[in-house]
Each structure stands twice: as C-alpha cells, then as structure tokens.
Symmetry: C2
Subunit: 337 residues, 2 copies
DNA sequence: ATTATCTACTAAACCTGTTTAGCATTACTA
DNA sequence: TAGTAATGCTAAACAGGTTTAGTAGATAAT
C-alpha cells in the first residue's frame, strides 16, 4: 500500500514551497506571478507522479465540498429515482457529486439528515420537503446555503422551487372524465398538507364544482402499507358501486388502485375509468392502457439543477427567488372508449 | 448567521484544554482518567450550546469518513433503486452515509467515480462492476479498502460479493417452460461478459441441451436504446413465428419484449409464453400476469451491508473472502394455461 | 527520604491543504 | 543614486479536529 502523496512531498521533490504548488494547481500562477517555466515543471511533475490533492483538507480550509445534498421522499419510487438519476448526471457534469437520502416524508428523519449534510459541508441542497420542516430549511437559507425544492414547495419559506401545475393537471384530467360522460368521479389521495397534494385536490374539486357534480374524496394516510391500501381500495369499490371513474393523486395510489380493480374483476375503462397522476410503464402496458398525467421528469431535473447552479455560481447571493411551474401532459390511452 | 462553534470555543468557555474535550466527546474519558465530574460538566455544556464537531476536520485526521460509496449500474432501474433504498436505510442505521452514482456499465466513468470516491475518503465500496474494471478494484482492495460487489462478481478479483444463483434460476425457468410443452424457447439477453449474464445464458443452454432442444439465443448490445430494442424485438417476433416461449435475461429486456409482443397483437401465454428475469410490478399487473424470476432484493441488500460492516468493523483486515449466493423465486402467474 | 506510580489533565504535533503577509531581487523612476 | 515598483517566490497562520508525549501534584512503595 503505497502511501498517498501530499502537497509537501511534491514541494520537497521540486525544492520549492508548498504555497507555490498550491497556487499553481489552483490556477493562480499568473495572478501570483509564478514563472511559466516553474508552472510547467510543477504541472509536469504532478501529472507524472499522479498527485491528487486531498479534497477533505481542501474542503476544511475553503468550506466548499463540491457535494450536493439530495433529499427525496423515496429513492425506490420510480418518479424520484428517475429524477435522481438525471440530477446525478447533471451534477457530475457540473463537477458536483451527490450525497442522497430518502426522507420517507418523516420530519424528524429529514431534520437529522439536514444536520448530517450540513455537518458534511454540503454546498447546496435539493429537497422534497416533508411537513413541518420550514424552520430547518429557513435556517439553511438564512445561513446562506442554496436550497432548491421540487415536487412541492413551502409557502412560508422563500426559496427557489420547481413544481408542476398540479391544479390545472387534475382539473384537466377531471374535465376529461366529465367530457366523456362520467358523473360519479372519485378522487383518491393522501391526507396531506403538502402543496402538490392540496393543489391536486383543488383541481379536482374545481372541475367537479364547475360541472355541478358531487365530489367523492377519499384521503388515506401517507404511511398506509400496500396491504392496507389494497384492502382499503377494495372496500371502497364495494361501497361505491356507482363510481364510474377514479382519479388517483399519485403513482403509488394508482398502482394499488389498479390492483384492487383487477382483483374486483372490473373492466377498465368499461366498468370504471381511471386516471393516475404520474405516468408509469405499468400504465402504458396495462391492458387496456391506463390514462395518466405525465410529469416532465427530465425538465424537472434540468430546472432544479439550473436553479441550483445559478445560486452556486453567483458571486453575490441572489435575493430574488425563482419559482418554476412546469406543465404536465394528459396521456390519453383509453380514447377508444 | 451565527458562526459555528469549534472545539476550541468549548475548551475556552470551560477553561480546559481542547484535548480534554476531544477525549470526552470520543468516549475516551475513562481510559484517559478524566474525572467523572468534568466529563459531566463538558457533556452538559456541549449539549447546551449544541456543539457538533466538524466531521471534515475529524476525517482529515482520522482518515475515516463514515461514508460508503455506492456504485450501481443505474439508479433509475427498479431493481437497483430498490436495493439502493434498502442499503441506504441499513447504512444509516449503522452510522454511515451513502454517496452514490450510476455507472451505466461504463468502465471509464466508473474508473473516474472510484477515483472521486477515493479522493473523498470513502470508507467502503459497494459496486456492481462493469467490464474491465478489475485493476481499479484490485487497487482498492490492495490499499485496504473494504469492497463488496453485488449482482455480479469479477472472477479475477478476490473480494466479498453477493449474487443470486443465476444459472439455476434460468435453468429452472427454462425447465418450467419445457415441462409445459414448449419446444421453441428463445432466450433474449445482452451480449455481456459479466458473470450474471453468462450464468443466465448457461442455465438456459443447460436446460435446452438436457431436453435436446435447439437453443435460440439473441444477444443485444447493452447500450441499445428502448426504441431500437422495440424494433429489434418486433423483428425477432416476425422472423421467429415458431417461437412459442421467450425467456428474458433481465427486467428491461422483459419490459421491452412485453411491449413488442403487445404491439404484435400476440396473446400471453396463449400464443407465446414469457418469463422475465427480475420481477416487476408491471409483470404482476399485466393481463394476463407474467411469470418472472424474482430476486430477493431485501436479502441482497441485507447481505451486502452485513459483509461490508463486518469488514469495516474488523480490527485486522480479514483475508478470507465471503461469497454469498442467494436463491431466486420463480413466480408462476400463467399456471391457468 | 527518595523513588515509583497513579491521577487528572494539557501543550504541541499532526492531518493536508489554502491564504495572508512579506521578503529578496531586479527593473524602473525621479 | 536613492526610492519605488514589479517580479518570483515562501514562511507561517489557518481550518478544526485527533493523538502523542508529557507534566504537576498526590499517593504508595522501598
């Protein structure tokens, strides 16, 4: 195990000061009036012996880590995994690494994770915030850390965020169902105070209200297990025989709903029409295919990174916050009906 | 922005040396004969002011970072995302954080990522290795870093790994198809020199050979896009009208195959039977449901972390390597046929 | 009474970089 | 020809911890 070279080793080998080496390696040679000849000699030698500065030592001194903290609700969820993947790629392209964790929408866990990230001198944060995390995130912002939220935002916290037009999305989807002649359209969602969920509910309610239809809303707890969800949905179907369409507020609910409907032996969209928030390969290949509200995953990731990079590269902290709202696409797959 | 407290601030406030504070905070008070009274006083004060040691400084001195580097093939793939999720949870439970990246099976990219992780003083590595990465991983091991591979292993590299019994899995699946009376069973896989792929191929070949059936193997390039895969599979179906069953070597191929079959208007399992390696919600809900080889995702993650923790906690580096092979489960969903 | 041992701490070195302040030379001005 | 400026480089401080080596005073052993 050959021990790693340090900047002192380089300096000693060349009989110069480590200060000089540091300046050269950080591109400050010109500014510091180091002769071209020496610069060339040092760079050549460094390359030759394969010296790589210890980034921990660098971070300790500079306070920068070139690491971005990514807190998603659940990395095993297709929506978040795909976004995380793209965020990762873009971050690397910008010279940043990603350290991530899943929050499970758990406030206490998220709080600890933020503390950990902070402790690790993370340069910037990308977060899908759980409830009641306002204070922790405000602290980050107050202390000058760039924070970009996505999927949802915190009305009380002034920072950048990237979301989709949830209200219009469910309004539009509900309207689509109404236009197809459905009257008893149910909405199944999580009981949540998070903006994306509230807006999705509002969109549904608005459309129903406009058409003078009676809303039928079921709110389930976020931590309900798949087993329980299945039972719950099956129950729902039994007790709501008149429901002829269901709008699901996210992919997980949609997936469970599909299972329940399948088990109940109902036909889609014959017996019951279905729209899920978030598209899914599953929905495309299901027979017959399921109509879905597709979020622009790549665009979300692109904008998140764009906002974060702007803040990271800003010489002076930008006061103004940017709020980006992207459009979704209603992917109609049951048009034959 | 209140500036962070350092250990010196704590020491000064209490009129003691920072050495003493350090010893107490690292649980070495007894060993260093610090009086119980002082220990209590320091801990009390530290808690009161909320002092948290700077982990970068700590890492710089100790060489430990409490970070695990996770290199998966693609975090947006359901199989890897689910394993990553569990690895993340278990790592946190053990006091480790995860820094991750997707390799895309790209050797050069992986090489750079390993260098980056190393540079970041990652304590241990969990890797799904791409081709030709033997030397880089051997270097890691030679330099004393714990490395656990999973999903596949490198025959030329002596280290711990967790895999599934690929050969038996495809042998068993093929045999299942044979037992159901299929004669023209095709195998669609990636052209790969990776162990898991080779073994899956071998399992298929072995079963076909045993039953004196003619193998029908299609190998596609790993970097083939979804579009191209679809076209390729559609072509395959057209040119192989006699094929009555297909075994797919992984979830992505299975998914694309399903799409192609659907587009070709064929029935499953009436016209053509299907088994996919890796289970998928998709396969369960597809109508009719698709038989699949399910990998024990939780078990894989559990064992990976177990092996890694054993190495991380070992006082002396363990010479012997542990190779864990887990069983898969053939989830039969087309039994009605 | 002297030396050895134990107790309860601590000064200083160390980890490996970056940054500040400054020091010889030589070149240029007044 | 003294004074100033530019050139080319470096010593030392610093970031914030851990670890080594040791010290002063009290107690025990010889």
């Amino acid at each position: 195990m050959k021990k790693k070279l340090s900047i002192v080793d380089i300096a000693n080998s060349l009989n110069i000061s480590k200060t000089t080496v540091s300046f050269i390696l950080n591109g400050r040679a010109q500014e510091k009036r180091i002769s071209d000849e020496l610069v060339k000699r040092v760079l050549q030698y460094v390359k030759e012996v394969g010296y790589k500065p210890n980034s921990l030592a660098k971070s300790l001194r500079t306070g920068k880590s070139n690491i971005i903290g990514l807190l998603v609700q659940d990395i095993s969820n297709h929506f978040f995994a795909t976004i995380a993947r793209r965020i990762e790629d873009l971050a690397y392209q910008n010279g940043y690494k990603i350290i991530y964790s899943s929050t499970d929408n758990d406030t206490q866990k998220t709080r600890e994770l933020i503390a950990m990230f902070r402790d690790r001198h993370v340069d910037g944060y990308i977060i899908t915030p759980p409830d009641n995390i306002e204070e922790d995130i405000s602290d980050l912002i107050k202390d000058g850390f760039p924070v970009v939220l996505f999927d949802r935002y915190l009305p009380k916290v002034a920072t950048d965020y990237v979301v989709v037009d949830n209200l219009f999305s469910t309004f539009n989807a509900t309207q689509y169902l109404i236009d197809k002649g459905h009257k008893n359209i149910a909405f199944i969602t999580y009981s949540s105070i998070q903006t994306q969920m509230i807006e999705r509910l509002e969109g549904y309610e608005k459309a129903m209200h406009q058409s003078k239809l009676k809303p039928n809303i079921t709110e389930v707890d976020f931590h309900t297990t798949v087993q329980e969800l299945l039972k719950l949905m099956t129950n729902f179907l039994e007790k709501n025989k008149d429901v002829d369409a269901i709008l699901f507020a996210n992919n997980h609910l949609g997936k469970c709903g599909l299972k329940a409907i399948r088990k109940a032996g109902k036909n889609i969209p014959g017996d019951i029409a279905l729209i899920a928030f978030d598209d899914y390969e599953l929905f495309e290949l299901y027979t017959p295919a399921v109509t879905a509200i597709a979020q622009p995953i790549d665009e979300i990731a692109d904008n998140v990174i764009k906002l974060l990079m702007e803040r990271l590269n800003a010489a002076v902290p930008e006061e103004k916050n940017q709020h980006i709202t992207l459009a979704t696409e209603l992917i109609i797959r049951d048009s034959s009906n």
